[in-house]
């Protein structure tokens, strides 16, 4: 084992943990902002800071630990009711969290932290919390689990057997004892009984356990806090000494009275695992390969006509399908973490812009594929920034317009079929469609005589040209960063809907697929070629006879129970020159534009489809979202019905291969 490599690995895992804690801390701080008197939130913040400080020191992030220490002390003052919670403390702590983040990342390729900013924040924190300047962090750390002022001194019996990996994880038990000594008088004895014979001894494992007696006024929880960084797999017993137990019982709350034995193999630790995302991706890739091979097996079994082979094949099909679903589920994460991140953005922007904005959320538990979530942060940020910057006015202006001075931004997420709808709404000024149109004409994005629908007009704000626009008016500035939104949503095979009413507000809805890796598809054949249509959008399949075609006077419209549905003949679209069968099939698909049909020669059946990217070369081919390998080894293109339908409808309006410029985004006015 390479010790240097290990150290870096520990640091890396500390960074990961700390990043998560920082996110939680930020959320807790903003919660505290709204509810300044909640001791539970203060406690959470304190513990978070304590963990970062302690783990940081353990893994060699001395500067970070020292910096965090002062913050922790400040929150201890808050916890003890000596320091009131105010906007200053919260803002200060938020900027301190940024510094902690910088200190954390500077060793991981991030830019170096700004020592001056750190010093400034520190001195402000000290001033606020009344921490004397000489008690700087460089000195030996003062009690990190400060002894409560009240409460009698009691003796606690502590037995501590470290987990097998504690030393390997970079922890040092000696430091724990030092921390315990901060709480009170400690006597301890190391027990060597568990050390195995030399030959069998794992040199990197800790076999020693400790018996300790601690005399302190601190409670069991404070003692337990000392061990929070080494809790994995360790055995920890904290008991009030028998002689003073009666007193303890009389004085302490029931919870602390009988702390009993607490194994730190908490259910949390057992029931969840931290797995690198790359491993998960690899796993899903393998499942994808399995699905492909299974499809081949099914086909083979069908050809062989051997009942035994067929039985095994069916069994494998069932298992593969379950495995696929499971592996997809593992990748699903609630969107909450992404949403919560924006509390801070809204808080900071509101302060900087002098606006009063309340952020509300809905459906934060909605689950989405990790890959989708990872890419959602940026577009949502741009949407929120735009709302805050241009959509929402200052409290004074709002009041003058008869609105509530506090503006609202609402984030929501919900499932809709195989998609997730994520919406950012505000109750701001709305988009002035006429101004957008004028500005687009000025910039030459659309011809001056263009007749645009409202949806087409709103689509213009996502044009790259708009994003670089000089801020002629507030409205023209509204396009800033929006092309980023469009690009990202495009790459996720999603669509954007904008609904806006002047003076009332704007809602931008992103419709995104639940997952990007595997879809349920419907295999269709045209001539010798095979295509896959996503099953999620497919409604039904109808026959198209010569008579039907004559009936429609050559127009591509199918009569489905009295409703006329436009369709596209894939044979014509892809220029496949084989003889057309007498009876074609039309797959009716639900799109943003309404129902739409695709005429094919035959429907071959269901298939679980592993999406393979077509590679950079075909990136601009938007009607195809990927390809898949079929059971017989041939490649089938996965079609994007949305894009195909849009292209077809646009061609019908503007003439075939017309000049339409408005971006290929589905815009559907009137859908909230």
């Amino acid at each position: 084992m390479n010790p240097a490599g290990n150290a870096e690995q520990f640091k890396q895992s500390f960074r990961e943990e700390a990043r998560e804690i920082l996110v939680e801390l930020e959320a807790a701080l903003l919660e505290l902002n709204e509810n300044t008197a909640d001791p539970e939130i203060v406690g959470r913040i304190f513990r978070g800071l304590h963990t970062i400080k302690g783990s940081g020191a353990m893994f060699g992030f001395d500067q970070l630990a020292a910096f965090t220490h002062n913050l922790e002390t400040a929150f201890d003052e808050v916890r003890n009711g000596r320091l009131p919670v105010g906007a200053e403390l919260i803002d200060l702590t938020l900027s301190a969290l940024d510094q902690i983040r910088a200190l954390l990342e500077e060793g991981a390729g991030g830019p170096p932290a700004d020592p001056e900013a750190c010093a400034q924040i520190l001195s402000k924190v000290r001033k606020l919390a009344g921490i004397p300047a000489q008690q700087s962090a460089r000195e030996k750390a003062p009690p990190s689990c400060p002894v409560p002022d009240t409460g009698p001194i009691r003796e606690w019996h502590i037995r501590f057997a470290p987990g097998p990996d504690m030393i390997r994880n970079g922890a040092n038990p000696f430091l724990l004892f030092e921390e315990l000594r901060q709480l009170g008088g400690l006597s301890l004895r190391a027990s060597m009984a568990a050390i195995p014979p030399l030959a069998e001894l794992d040199p990197e494992r800790c076999y020693v356990s400790w018996e300790m007696v601690l005399a302190t006024a601190a409670g069991a929880d404070a003692i337990r806090d000392v061990f929070i960084f080494v809790e994995d797999g360790c055995e920890l017993t904290i008991e009030a000494a028998a002689a003073t137990e009666a007193t303890a019982r009389a004085l302490e709350e029931p919870r602390v009275q009988t702390p009993g034995r607490r194994s730190y193999d908490k259910p949390d630790n057992v029931s969840s695992l931290r797995v690198p995302a790359a491993k998960l991706d690899q796993f899903v890739d393998l499942v994808g390969e399995l699905v492909t091979v299974q499809a081949r097996l099914s086909e083979l079994a069908g050809r062989l006509d051997d009942p035994e082979v067929a039985q095994v094949s069916e069994e494998i099909e069932r298992l593969t399908s379950a495995l696929r679903e499971n592996s997809m589920n593992i990748r699903m994460l609630p969107i909450r973490a992404t949403f919560e991140k924006f509390r801070r953005l809204v808080h900071d922007l509101a302060r900087d812009l002098g606006k009063d904005v309340e952020l509300t959320m809905e459906g934060a538990d909605t689950e989405l594929d990790k890959t989708v979530i990872d890419q959602l942060g940026d577009p949502l940020m741009h949407l929120i920034r735009n709302s805050m910057d241009h959509g929402i006015s200052s409290p004074g202006v709002r009041a003058a317009n008869g609105k509530r001075p506090t503006a609202a931004i609402h984030l929501s997420a919900r499932h809709s079929g195989a998609s997730v709808l994520i919406a950012v709404s505000d109750d701001g000024n709305g988009i002035d469609a006429e101004a957008v149109r004028r500005s687009a004409i000025e910039k030459g994005l659309v011809p001056a005589d263009a007749q645009l629908t409202e949806a087409e007009t709103f689509a213009l704000i996502f044009q790259p040209g708009f994003s670089t626009a000089k801020k002629v008016t507030d409205v023209s500035g509204r396009g800033v960063g929006m092309d980023v939104v469009r690009q990202r949503v495009d790459s996720l095979r999603g669509t954007i809907e904008v609904v806006s009413k002047p003076g009332v507000g704007t809602t931008v809805t992103l419709r995104l697929p639940l997952t990007l890796a595997i879809i349920d598809g419907l295999l269709v054949g045209v001539g010798d070629a095979c295509f896959v249509l996503p099953l999620a959008n497919t409604l039904e399949c109808i026959e198209l006879t010569r008579a039907d075609i004559e009936h429609a006077n050559g127009k591509h419209l199918a009569n489905v129970r009295g409703e006329l549905i436009p369709y596209l003949r894939l044979r014509e679209h892809f220029n496949i020159r084989t003889t057309r069968p007498a009876i074609e099939q039309i797959m009716i698909v639900e799109t943003e534009e309404g129902r739409f049909g695709f005429a094919v020669d035959q429907v071959l059946g269901n298939c679980q489809t592993v999406i393979k990217s077509l590679g950079r070369f075909y990136r601009h081919v938007q009607v195809v979202s990927g390809a898949t390998i079929l059971g017989n080894g041939t490649v089938a293109l996965i079609l994007d019905p949305q894009r195909l339908a849009q292209d077809a409808l646009r061609a019908a309006v503007h003439g075939p291969r017309g000049r339409p410029v408005p971006p290929p985004i589905a815009l559907h006015p009137g859908v909230p």
């Binding site: 030092e178 301890l188 190391a190 001894l201 040199p203 020693v208």
Partner: protein, 110 residues
């Protein structure tokens, strides 16, 4: 590497220097196993250490226990630097440290 060892006639000396911890634990184990298996006298010098972590204490403890059981000569040679000694006492390794003092004399005699 904080560990060196030399073989004289009848005597193997393992010299530890600086911080002796998990980074050199596997190596220390190897040296101790070899030395004990050689049947010669073994001496471990702690004079130049600046830190001794729990893994090193465990290895030395196990080695000495085995030497005692088989009746072979094994000595932890001091004097151990006071900082390290106080660290050991603070961590409750009184028993281990007490034996260190006792073995100091035998080491000095060499």
């Amino acid at each position: 590497v904080p560990l060196t060892h030399e073989r004289e006639e009848e005597l193997i000396t393992i010299r530890m220097e600086g911080e002796v911890g998990i980074a050199s634990a596997a190596e220390l184990k190897e040296l101790l196993v070899q030395a004990l298996g050689s049947g010669q006298q073994v001496r471990v010098s702690l004079r130049s250490i600046t830190d001794l972590d729990v893994t090193a204490v465990e290895l030395l403890w196990a080695a000495r226990r085995e030497a005692k059981a088989s009746g072979s000569a094994f000595a932890l040679q001091g004097p151990i630097p006071p900082m390290v000694l106080s660290g050991l006492l603070q961590a409750g390794f009184d028993e281990f440290a007490a034996d260190l003092d006792a073995s100091e004399g035998s080491g000095e005699n060499q």
